[in-house]
């Protein structure tokens, strides 16, 4: 049975108000709290280490898998390995996410290592939300590592969201794309207080006509610190674009390091990075509509992180 705190965390990270439809695996305080496999999606525990294997049959369409993790016990630290085997011609949605509620004084940490093996012409939408809460002095720590292998003609859209509450995070994402594969990443991040967030992407465009679009929008408030690294490697006729757009406030610091490597004459790579405070004329415009300065700022940030 899930506690009320755990239910609240589930709502924050997966918009889940009750047990989800379709396949799911809920992990709470280091143990399985619910699992459901379907005819096309099989979830099984790993035998050699903590974690699960998710196998999606070729041709599975319009199905979803939810694999949320919630931690409400102070001092709990875990590393979990989840592997996703998505068959050819699938069209599926995978919702992961981690919520930590730490009211104690010991650090709580969840490090999720996710590996995707995506079959030919398959289409995957992946949503990963991080959320932290709790009044304790113990930190809420998440260090996710994601590895993506995109087969010929396949595509993946990744939505990576971390809005408030996570004290320390180091996210590492590596993707390898075969012929005609496409990867779209949309990262949204908001840090505040003394939080530190590090996010790194390495995308290898190995196959002809592969393409990637890696976009990060972030807001750093108060004394928080963010580092964003994005590296795109073009090893064939390919298209790559990476963009980092950050709003900086108060005494926060943001570092953006876009990196491009072209190893093929026909790889076209572009990077853009912009860091700045909220433009004064944006605040003024919204104030002329009757908003206070604080309300204007909130609207601008909410829109930016949409």
């Amino acid at each position: 049975m899930l506690t009320e705190i755990q239910k609240q965390l589930l709502k924050e990270i997966a918009d889940l108000h009750k047990v989800p439809e379709g396949a799911y695996n809920i992990r709470a305080n280091g143990a399985a709290a619910g699992r459901n496999s379907t005819a096309n999606i099989e979830i099984s525990s790993k035998t050699d280490k903590p974690g699960i294997d998710i196998r999606i049959k070729p041709g599975t369409k319009n199905e979803s898998v939810h694999i949320p993790v919630v931690l409400s016990e102070s001092g709990l630290k875990e590393i979990v390995y989840n592997d996703f085997f998505v068959g050819d011609d699938c069209d599926v949605v995978i919702v992961a996410g981690c919520g930590i509620s730490n009211c104690g004084d010991q650090d709580s940490a969840h490090d999720g290592v996710h590996c995707f093996y995506i079959g030919k012409n398959a289409k995957v939408k992946y949503v990963e939300k991080h959320y932290g809460e709790g009044t304790g002095r113990g930190k809420r720590i998440m260090n996710p590592r994601t590895e993506v292998n995109l087969g010929e003609g396949s595509s993946m859209e990744m939505e990576m969201v971390q809005i408030k509450g996570v004290d320390d995070t180091k996210r590492d994402t590596v993707a390898k794309l075969e012929k005609g594969a496409r990867l779209v990443v949309h990262e949204r991040l908001l840090t505040h207080g003394d939080q530190k967030a590090e996010s790194g992407y390495t995308v290898e465009l190995n196959g002809e006509n592969s393409s990637a679009d890696v976009v990060s929008r972030s807001v750093a408030k108060e004394q928080s610190y963010q580092i964003y690294r994005s590296r795109i490697v073009g090893n064939a006729l390919s298209n790559g674009h990476t963009e980092c757009d950050a709003i900086i406030m108060d005494k926060a610091r943001v570092v953006a390091i876009p990196e491009l490597e072209a190893n093929d004459l026909d790889s076209a790579l572009v990077h853009e990075a912009a860091i700045g405070k909220i433009a004064g004329d944006q605040i003024i415009k919204l104030m002329t509509l009757g908003l206070t300065e604080a309300e204007a700022e909130e609207q601008i940030i909410n829109g930016f992180l949409r």
Binding site: Q282, T288, L289, F304
Partner: protein, 249 residues
């Protein structure tokens, strides 16, 4: 009714103060359409910013419906009933046109169809725009029309427009003028427009000529238009030729 009394505004540099607005007084009565015109750099936009509260005057007072609003901030003036369409509309990443219209109307539940009416009124095909981001993907002309739509959505008693015609190349001028005429039909609504366009000057109830930060002339269009045409003040009046402007939609 808006009243400006002996308004002054200066910008301080290292060793001197540059006077941008010098002792300006005028009134925008209820239900009147007043156009401010004059050469570039004469202080017109600064006046609009002083009225909205974006800049604070160094001397003089501003009254709205008899209330002294000189010390009030932008938000308070907006709530009292002043709207302002900026000369250069501001772009926002992630904020949609419908969001802006909802904020402007003060009604977060403003329906999409009601929001669309404001866009249609400014000559935009509403369905195509309502969910667009107010970002760099919109052209200057589109931004100007959306800016005017936000003022329509506010529905306040005083609407100030800073060169609303600038950048609107393809939009039938007649529609723009119709927008202002319709606004004026609302009871007690007064409109203050900064413009160089003769067609806008022609529909004014009164015209104020501002040059070198001062009021150089003021009167009805019948009095002012012939003056402006022969004025020694280098006033730019761009004549819009009939048929020279095409309908966009």
């Amino acid at each position: 009714m808006l009243e400006l009394k002996n308004l002054c505004f200066g910008v301080e540099s290292e060793d001197s103060t540059k006077e941008i607005i010098r002792d300006v007084s005028f009134t925008v009565p209820d239900e009147k359409f007043v156009v401010i015109t004059g050469p570039n750099g004469g202080g017109k936009s600064t006046l609009a910013r002083l009225i909205m509260g974006i800049e604070k005057p160094s001397a003089g007072r501003i009254y709205l419906n008899g209330e002294d609003i000189t010390e009030l901030g932008i938000t308070e003036r907006a709530k009292l009933g002043i709207s302002f369409a900026l000369q250069q509309p501001v772009r926002f990443k992630g904020i949609h046109v419908v969001d802006l219209l909802r904020l402007a109307s003060g009604n977060q539940k403003l329906s999409v169809s009601d929001a669309c009416e404001y866009l249609s009124a400014v000559g935009l095909c509403a369905r195509d725009y309502i969910n667009r981001e107010v970002n760099a993907s919109l052209s200057g002309g589109e931004m100007k029309r959306i800016e005017i739509a936000t003022v329509l959505a506010r529905g306040t008693t005083l609407s100030v427009f800073d060169e609303p015609e600038a950048g609107i190349d393809l939009w039938s001028f007649q529609s723009l003028i119709q927008v202002f005429e319709n606004m004026q039909k609302r009871s007690h609504a007064s409109i203050l427009i900064i413009s160089h366009q003769e067609r806008i000057l022609e529909i004014a109830d009164s015209i104020i000529l501002i040059a070198d930060g001062q009021v150089r002339g003021q009167g009805s269009k019948e009095e002012m238009l012939p003056e402006l045409m022969k004025s020694t003040v280098p006033v730019t009046c761009n004549r819009i030729l009939e048929g020279g402007v095409k309908n966009a939609d």
